[in-house]
Amino acid sequence: MLKFILRRLGMGLLVALTVSLATFLMLNLAADPASMVAGEDASPEAIEQIRVQYGFDRPLAVRYVEWISRVAVGDFGDSYYWKRPVLDLFLERAPVTLTLAFSALTITVIVGLLLGVTAALKPNGWLDRFALSLGTVAQAVPNFWLGLMMIILLGVMFPIFPVSGDTSWKHFVLPSFVLGMSAVPQVLRLTRAGMIDVLGSDYIRTARAKGFGPGRILFQHALRNALLPVVSVVAIQLGYKLGGSVITESVFALNGLGRLAYESILGADIPTVQMLVFMFALIFIVLTVAGDVLNAWLDPRMRVE
């Protein structure tokens, strides 16, 4: 099992390196980094000065190797805009985004699983139709719009929750809900399809022939099998939520990583953007591996010797 995890992590690291190289190349080749940092109205001399000062005049390969070897010891460089180590920025902003992502994921999993399982118990029944319609609506509604509607409804008309800031748990309720709902349809459909499939399977018939009651069949024999595909998706969803919180954080004025990414892209803060992309890639990889490990624990067939 340990070998399995290490192997997956090793593969993941290779992916992370590839991603970092791609980001590096894109940021440096898409536009001239020196003129981006210098700003729109800078004179050619100023640009040249920045080019030399920031080291943009050296070959790309040298700069990449320098950057990645610093990253290897935890030094992501200093932000051009904030003039501080970008790692500090990351650590400062991460808690907000993590809180948001995990609470959103909790909502996704609870709502998605619950609706998925109840829908599967009686396919084409009214609960099933209701759950599927809800899923379609949740998928069709854009995130920012749902966010704005929630602000109007529960923030302005009935001011139950604060609508901007991140100082108390109440601040996270609306953004978590908005972010969480966006992934509900996927989890719901997968759970429903998996559950219908499993409930019609031969081993569930065996379990019934063994004399188990409906509850034990559902929770002990069916759910674990039906969850297998859901686990991988949930792991990836968490990654999306960390990375894709840009809009939600903007709508609810949360000071998290999403906002940081947004600001640093606008400000041509190359070290910060590079760090964020690399970190998100790492998080994605760790989550995928965690999903695989969880799946291998749930499903013995996945445990390749």
Binding site: D202, A209, G211, G213, H221, N225, P300, V304
Partner: protein
Amino acid sequence: MKPLLEVKDLSVTLKLAEGDLTAVSGISLSVAKGETLGIVGESGSGKSISSLAVMDLLPKGTIRKATTMRFGETDLLSATPSQMASLRGNKIAMIFQEPMTSLNPVYTIGRQMTELMTLHKGVSKKVATDRAVELLEKVGITAARSRLSQYPHQLSGGLRQRVMIAMMLMCEPELIIADEPTTALDVTIQAQILNLLRELQQEMNMAMIIITHDLGVVARVSDKVSVMYAGQIVETGSVEEVFRHPVHPYTQGLLESIPVSGEINPGEELGSIPGLVPSLKTNFKGCRFANRCSKVIEICHNTLVDLNEISSGRLTRCLLSEAEARAKLKEEPKVLSDHVYGSRVDMTSAPVMSADNAQCVFQIKPNMFAPKKPLRAVDNISIDLRKGEVVAVVGESGCGKSTLARMLLGLQSPTSGTISLDGEDVSEMSNVEKSKRVQSIFQDPYSSLNPRRTIGEIIRRPLQLHGSGTTEEQKEQVEAIMERVGIPRRLYHNYPNQLSGGQRQRVAIARALVLKPEIVICDEPTSALDVSVQAQILNLLLELRSELRLTYLLITHDMAVVEHIATRVVVMYLGRVVEIADARDIFQNPQHPYTKALLSSVLTPEPDADVPDTQLGTSYPNPIDPPSGCTFHPRCPLATQVCKERAPVLSKFNPTTEVACHLVEAAPMAAE
């Protein structure tokens, strides 16, 4: 003695989207302790539904009606769901057909076995574990204790079915219902499982209901038998009586359509039941079998028939008197070819198709990081097919027979060696050229026909691809071949899903023959079909052979089919040929121990015979890791030291027989 299970007038109505369907109408059955009841019938006859009705495991919304349904002292009709649950797995156990999918993949064998006992008997885990080990040993599983921590996917099909049986015996049930317990298994394992079930049943004095389409299985393991047709029981009686003196014309037809070893006249027409099982949605006004019955009289069509007792415990659902029903129809079987079937084949002529040292090796990577390992699916096989031959390739699943067929068809190129047609290497031929001469019929008529094309289009497609003739001419050809294989012309514009399995296989045959090929490769052409339909298709294949001078290569696991239509037999084991001989010799004087074992495990419907005891102890080896020397040695009762060390070579035993066995080499004439 009062029977343990008594069911009277059971009817089951399924609620389907297109309306109600009465799958079982008014069946009665009973079984006592220590007794085995066989329920036999074709697919859709309602045999499985009846057993699910007894277990109260029918799908939701199904209506179950009966006048009596009693198990021991419990009235099953008035039992609450929790009372039923406490019977299931505890007093009544059920074994299902699909051992590969009937165990939960995410739990260990041990957990699945013990949970049954802790649930019903409330014993501690330790007690349950000990019992599980004891039962696993009883069903012949070695290293039982260590198996408990294994998962189902780590076991072969035969082992899983043993685990399933052991699991269902955990609570010492009084009644065991086995629904097609061996259908998914190879013949050699089938015999072992049936013997095991019988021994256990006698030892524990259980009542057993065995449900199957296989008359051979019923004949050998049950005491009494009920024959089902279209949701009704048409005949009941002791196995001896029913098999020796069948009364109902359906039972008679069924028994005639099975080739019985020793009584087979190769190449002759098998008795078959014409037509199709009627749809259960029909509003029956008369006997349900009337449209297929050879002894039908006027009143059969408009009189509902009851089950009548003709002697004690012997019931039949027929309007004819016993003597009338039993009277043989004066009709000699039509001889399709001369009495010396296959002898007209000129064995000295040049082969029309041959495989020369053909090999197909797949490189298998057990996982992403492990080195590749060779899997020799077909290992140096040389076969010649001569004009007019019917060569059967037999062997257990995984022996490489289907890969061989794919190579001969040109769907898989050999990794070494050549396949040639009339002496020309097929690898240098275009697909159009090849397909003009070689065509194929596959096992599953449900998935081998494109569901989005009409029957006419499917059959016409090869003509289109070969650009032969105008559209009008093609249509004429299609209609001619449809008529020849027995598909009504009105089905031209129908889709495959509107046809029955037998009709679809006829379409597949028509599609294969429309180009007038010389060679037809049939991969298990009848194994997805019901017995009565199987005989129809075999007869058709035989007729077409002599009419169109076809050469067949037949891939099958069914030895009775082989004996009936093959002229020469190739026996394969783990990718190699172990014996090639004329069909007559294979059946009368088999040489290789594996051939002997295969033949002895065939279950013909003989009521007084036991299930043969095949001594193929261990299961089929993993082809990635084949045994040393003769690959058959771990299962061979005669294996010696030399078998473990050196692989035998296929060599001539007599002019028409080749065998690969050290023991046969040593004393070639001793067996004569």
